[in-house]
């Protein structure tokens, strides 16, 4: 396997991420539509409010003793009602946008997870868990915040900008020339800065991912590090990642924070220009003061939201960089999809055929060389060999966690690549050396492969696997919570639990990869009958070092460097006096 995929992290074109992000938002176009309407209404309201107030003031302007209080009261009440409506609208608008942001984030999270379920196993062998997780826990969170806050702002801002622009256009076509200079200047400037800062934001996201990857690995190995008292060394190493992430943040923001004030500057500059030119126009008798005043009023209204948008620019860039990382994961190559003519493997007989199989995790390093083997239904195949001889690799190929490089594997006469993956994997029960339990109750972990298990079946399996004492001694019995790395379950118990789990699943083929390596011999002996029953009538592949478990196999393969060096029954191999014989003798030395 190659070390961490060193994908070229050239920032993808901004449009890609932007357009794709937008497509998530468009899915909730009803929300968006409602937001636009409410936003427009809010803007109109912002104009109407002062108007009513103005009317009231007009009435008051009648001066001392002449104020018509009925009229004032009328306007005041109008104003009050109007403000209530406006507040309610504001609230609805912001809740809509909050929902939009959360829903988009939720969709993305689910999509990322669904993607994870479709990625080839090699992806997880090659990518840091922490980095994968940080796409959900960090990147999507950034997008969430940005969509909720920034999109609202964007919508209302655009409406205001367009509105004020129209008003300015109506008031003075000459003065708008100033805006025609500064507006394109703003746009060009932003585009230029975007080009420069985007890579910085992408780098920042990447650095965070690397830091999170390192952190996850270190936290997972926390106990080992503590046992060697090497915390200080790891802390020093972390500092490098931490510093790089902090610098990434700083570099991005260092340039990013120029954008807001710069747009602000361009706006202020245009305000100054308008002031000067307006006055000059007035002096040259080309406009009235009132006209200029209201033009300025609107251009200030205009510059407000432009400033707001410019100030959000950082967040938008962060969100886009985050989205890029999420999309990159979503674009990873999936397990080759089942062909359109893929068959469903059912009514399994269990005949397995390896034909000249060749495979290597890395291109020029084959692990399995020209491997051929025929297994009749219901037979037990044991695979032995020194560590690293490729035993587990055979299982990886059989289950299609990896696909062969050359040759083929056939089940019941058909190449396994012609079956749907699900049905192929469904034909096996598997107990692996790397036991896996998930955070849940003991019961949930037991019935993981088959939920339609009766209590009696459950108890029987638990008893057969010698887990009764352990479970009965847990504070809440079957409902006790266990989790990976928790201290209420040992590795041996985990293995027993996985065996019990396998017993509750009835399939035609069975894989036992060092299934009892962490179980003590006494217990192993005690569950022997259960194991034999589990293997009954199934095509079995058994990998074990403890040769006692495989003596009864129909055929034993001795693997060496990815090829079969010996093959036969226990008795035949012992008589041969070769590698198997030596291995067998050495175990009781």
């Amino acid at each position: 396997m190659p070390p961490i995929s060193s994908k070229t992290d050239r920032p993808k074109d901004k449009k890609g991420a932007m357009v794709r992000l937008t497509s998530y938002i468009i899915k909730y176009r009803v929300y968006l539509f409602a937001a636009v309407i409410l936003g427009t209404a809010g803007n109109v309201a912002a104009l109407v409010g002062p108007m009513i107030a103005g009317k009231a003031i007009d009435v008051i302007s009648a001066g001392k003793g002449n104020v018509n209080f009925n009229k004032v009261m009328f306007y005041v009440v109008c104003l009050f009602i109007f403000y209530i409506i406006s507040s309610v609208m504001t609230y609805i608008l912001s809740t809509i946008m909050i929902k939009l942001g959360r829903k988009v984030a939720n969709d993305m999270r689910k999509e990322v997870f669904a993607k994870l379920l479709k990625l080839p196993v090699s992806y997880f062998d090659n990518n840091q868990t922490g980095d994968i997780i940080s796409r959900v826990s960090y990147d999507i969170d950034v997008i969430n915040t940005s969509v909720s806050a920034d999109v609202t702002q964007l919508i209302t801002s655009i409406i205001t900008i367009v509105g004020s622009f129209i008003m300015m256009f109506v008031i003075s076509r000459k003065l708008i020339v100033v805006q025609l200079i500064t507006l394109p200047a703003s746009i060009l400037y932003t585009r230029y800065m975007t080009k420069r800062t985007r890579p910085l934001f992408s780098a920042r996201s990447k650095k965070y991912g690397q830091m999170n990857g390192f952190t996850e690995e270190m936290f997972t190995g926390q106990k080992t590090i503590a046992a060697y008292a090497k915390e200080d060394v790891m802390i020093k190493r972390f500092e490098k990642y931490n510093e790089a992430a902090a610098d990434g943040y700083y570099n991005a923001d260092y340039y990013g924070t120029i954008i807001g004030p710069s747009i602000g500057f361009i706006n202020n500059f245009s305000l100054a220009l308008i002031g000067v030119f307006g006055s000059l126009l007035y002096i040259a008798c080309k406009g009235s003061l009132g006209q200029i005043s209201s033009f300025i009023l609107y251009s200030r209204k205009f510059s407000g939201p432009v400033n707001e948008v410019a100030n959000m620019y950082n967040e938008i860039l962060s969100a886009l960089a985050a989205a890029e990382r999420v999309f990159r994961l979503l674009d990873e190559e999936e397990e080759t999809p089942d062909g359109r003519e893929a068959k469903v493997l059912k009514e399994v007989k269990g005949e397995v055929l390896f034909e000249n199989v060749t495979f290597g995790y890395e291109e020029n390093e084959t692990v399995i060389n020209d491997f051929s083997l025929t297994v009749k239904p219901g037979k037990v195949v044991a695979i032995v060999g020194a560590t690293g001889a490729g035993k587990t690799t055979l299982i990886n190929l059989l289950m299609r966690f990896y696909d062969v490089d050359g040759g083929s594997i056939k089940i019941d006469g058909t190449d396994i690549r012609e079956y749907t993956r699900d049905s192929l994997r469904n034909a096996f029960t598997m107990v692996l050396q790397d036991t896996w339990v998930f955070g849940g109750t003991i019961r949930e972990n037991l019935v993981y492969g088959n939920e339609n298990v009766t209590d009696d079946m459950l108890k029987e399996a638990v008893k057969a696997c010698n887990l009764e004492y352990y479970i009965n001694n847990m504070p809440e019995g079957y409902d006790t919570l266990i989790r990976e790395g928790g201290n209420n379950i040992s590795k041996g118990q985990k293995q027993l639990l996985t065996i019990a789990r396998a017993m509750l699943i009835n399939k035609h083929m069975l894989i036992l990869d060092e299934a009892t390596s962490n179980v003590d011999t006494r217990t192993e002996k005690e569950i022997e009958n259960a194991m034999l029953k589990l293997m009954e009538n199934k095509t079995c592949f058994v990998i074990a070092h403890r040769l006692s478990t495989i003596e009864n196999a129909d055929v034993i393969l001795v693997l060496k460097d990815g090829v079969i060096s010996e093959q036969g029954t226990h008795r035949e191999l012992l008589e041969k006096g070769g590698m198997y014989y030596n291995m067998y003798i050495s175990q009781y030395r």
Binding site: I60, W436, Q495
Partner: protein, 580 residues
């Protein structure tokens, strides 16, 4: 909040400069419209072109100053929040590294991870924004009130009356928000947990075709997260419209009061008009402050979670330097015994009354059925936990009188679920100890992995995949044993570290240990009698107690369980002999 203040404190000087810069920026920016009004109202009517141009230049100068101060201020702010959050992460990482076994289990890995990623990010964005935006709003508020106050005191009083109510609303709701956002972050822990499980269990999940189940499980958690996030958001969206309404009510009140006052001739209409303008400015300022508080409740929740982790007290702590180590210093290190367990019990791990001694340079085997507490002995030795009663001594000195570093430096350990890091083989064996290359090669040789390494094109510089996925189970274990051996530790403990090894490699490994590390005390936790039968003494454990203690011969005589286990394996050997 306390947390954020603590981490901002070292940068007080910078923050003050930031505030000053931002203050100057706000002032410069405010001057522009002010000047503009002046030009339109007072200069333009005089038709003095030169003055108009002059004031135009003044405005541009202010614009430039605004730009300058803003950029400087923002950069300062970014610098501060960068450093503050880096320090937060450093402290988090360090704390987690030094967390005791029990505390680490309780904090739970997914939750620790999400504190490092999501929570620290929330705090970071808040720190950035509060510095960047936090100055403008209060200045506008203060400025607005002062100007209003100079125009008309009684109307300003209406305004002033509202301030405490507004403050109450803001503080009340943002306080309410903190627990809600805490819940959201807690949900995120669940997301992280499910993702980790799916990544580590990818083979099992695929093999059992459980993707629909897992997808469902994840989607439920994700929906729950979204829902509680929406709920929190809905509450946090309240203050804005409520306060706007409140302020606007004030505005209508001012019109009403104004009407009476104008009617009675104490006030001019123009004042109301001006007042309304400033009222708008104040309203914007209040909204700005509100926005900061909303962000605060999210960041506050995250800061609290970080603080919770940082303030965990380890139940196992080093004693102060000057603590009496409980032994006569002259006798120190003079003990013949490398390890002494004296009536050790720990209730929650089910270990009862464990006593045994191991002389220096001798070996101890621990054997017993699955889950009988073998690993607990190792955890106690390394002081991941402290026993409820009894004493554990290393070299005659109770473990609690060692500093954790001094204690652990004595050991070379391989755990059951030990970890290979995504780094070179060299680094994985060296493990940050800066060992000699010779020691590393010696360790690898004795761990029976040197041949494999030498056969690789880039030898010790070969990079191991994540969790050692490009190694077989046995290669992984031997790599770990090499790590334990290379350091030249006084005591080597191997917890079931040969389970994936074939018998021959296992036997060779034991032989190497005996031959090449004669002065090293060796503790071997195993399930095979063959792995422990040559040890100087052997402990047989069952359900947390010692049920047999002695060497192979005496155990064969006195311990039934041991005999049974042995016979089970030897029975096979008899078969083997018969076959020959």
């Amino acid at each position: 909040m306390k947390l954020m203040l603590r981490f901002m404190k070292p940068y007080t000087a910078r923050i003050i400069i930031t505030v000053i810069l931002k203050f100057l920026a706000v002032i410069s920016e405010l001057f522009i419209p002010y000047t503009l009004e002046y030009v339109i109202d007072d200069i333009a009517p005089t038709k003095n072109m030169k003055l108009v141009a002059l004031y135009g230049i003044v405005m541009v100068v202010f614009a430039v100053l605004g730009l300058f101060f803003n950029v400087m201020g923002n950069r300062m702010a970014t610098y501060t929040s960068k450093n503050a959050i880096r320090n937060v992460r450093s402290e988090l990482f360090e704390k987690t590294m030094f967390l005791g076994g029990e505390e680490f289990d309780r904090a739970s890995l997914p939750s620790v991870i999400s504190r490092m990623t999501s929570d620290s990010y929330n705090v970071q964005s808040f720190l950035g924004i509060v510095q960047r935006m936090g100055v403008r709003a209060p200045i506008m508020l203060l400025g607005g009130i002062i100007i209003a106050g100079r125009m008309d005191i009684s109307l300003t009083l209406v305004l002033l009356c509202m301030i405490p109510v507004l403050a109450f609303i803001i503080i009340f709701i943002s306080k309410k928000g903190i627990p809600m956002f805490r819940k959201v972050q807690g949900m995120l822990d669940g997301i992280v947990c499910i993702m980790r499980e799916n990544i580590s269990g990818v083979r099992v999940i695929r093999a059992l075709s459980k993707h629909y189940y897992e997808k469902d499980r994840f989607e439920k958690q994700s929906d729950a997260l979204a829902e509680s996030d929406i709920k929190a958001g809905m509450v946090m969206a309240l203050p804005n419209p409520v306060m706007t309404l409140f302020l606007n009510t004030g505005l209508t009140l001012i019109i009403l009061i104004g009407a009476y006052r104008v009617n009675s001739g104490v006030m001019k209409t123009g004042v109301i008009l001006a007042f309304l303008t400033y009222f708008n400015m104040i309203m914007q300022a209040v909204m700005g402050i509100n926005r900061i508080f909303i962000l605060y409740s999210k960041a506050g929740a995250s800061a609290d979670r970080i603080d919770d982790l940082l303030s965990i007290k380890n139940s196992v702590e080093d004693l102060p330097e000057d603590a009496n180590d409980g032994t006569d210093s002259s006798k120190n290190d003079g003990s013949d015994y490398a390890i002494i367990f004296d009536k050790v019990s720990i209730d929650k791990m089910g270990l009862k009354d464990i006593s045994f001694k191991v002389k220096k340079g001798q070996s101890l085997g621990i054997i017993g059925s699955t889950g009988c507490g073998k690993t607990t002995i190792l955890n106690l030795l390394l002081r991941f936990y402290d026993p409820d009663s009894g004493t554990i001594s290393i070299d005659g000195k109770p473990v609690k009188y060692y500093s954790r570093k001094a204690l652990r430096q004595k050991f070379g350990v391989v755990f059951q679920n030990d970890i290979i890091f995504n780094d070179t083989i060299y680094e994985n064996i060296d493990f940050g100890r800066n060992l000699d290359k010779k020691d590393i090669e010696k360790g690898a040789q004795n761990a029976e992995i040197a041949d494999y390494i030498e056969g690789l094109p880039d030898k010790y510089q070969h990079i191991l995949a994540i969790k050692g996925m490009n190694l077989s189970g046995g290669q992984r274990q031997r790599m770990l044993v090499a790590r334990a051996l290379a350091g030249g530790s006084e005591i080597i403990i191997l917890d079931d570290s040969s389970s994936a090894l074939d018998y021959r490699t296992d036997a060779r490994l034991r032989e190497n240990l005996k031959k090449n590390y004669p002065h090293v005390t060796n503790v071997m936790i195993a399930q095979r009698v063959s792995s422990v039968r040559d040890m100087n003494s052997i402990i047989v454990m069952d359900k947390g107690r010692i049920i047999g203690y002695g060497d192979h011969e005496s155990l064969m005589e006195n311990c039934e369980t041991y005999r049974e286990t042995y016979n089970m394996q030897m029975g096979e050997e008899m078969c083997n002999a018969a076959n020959q």
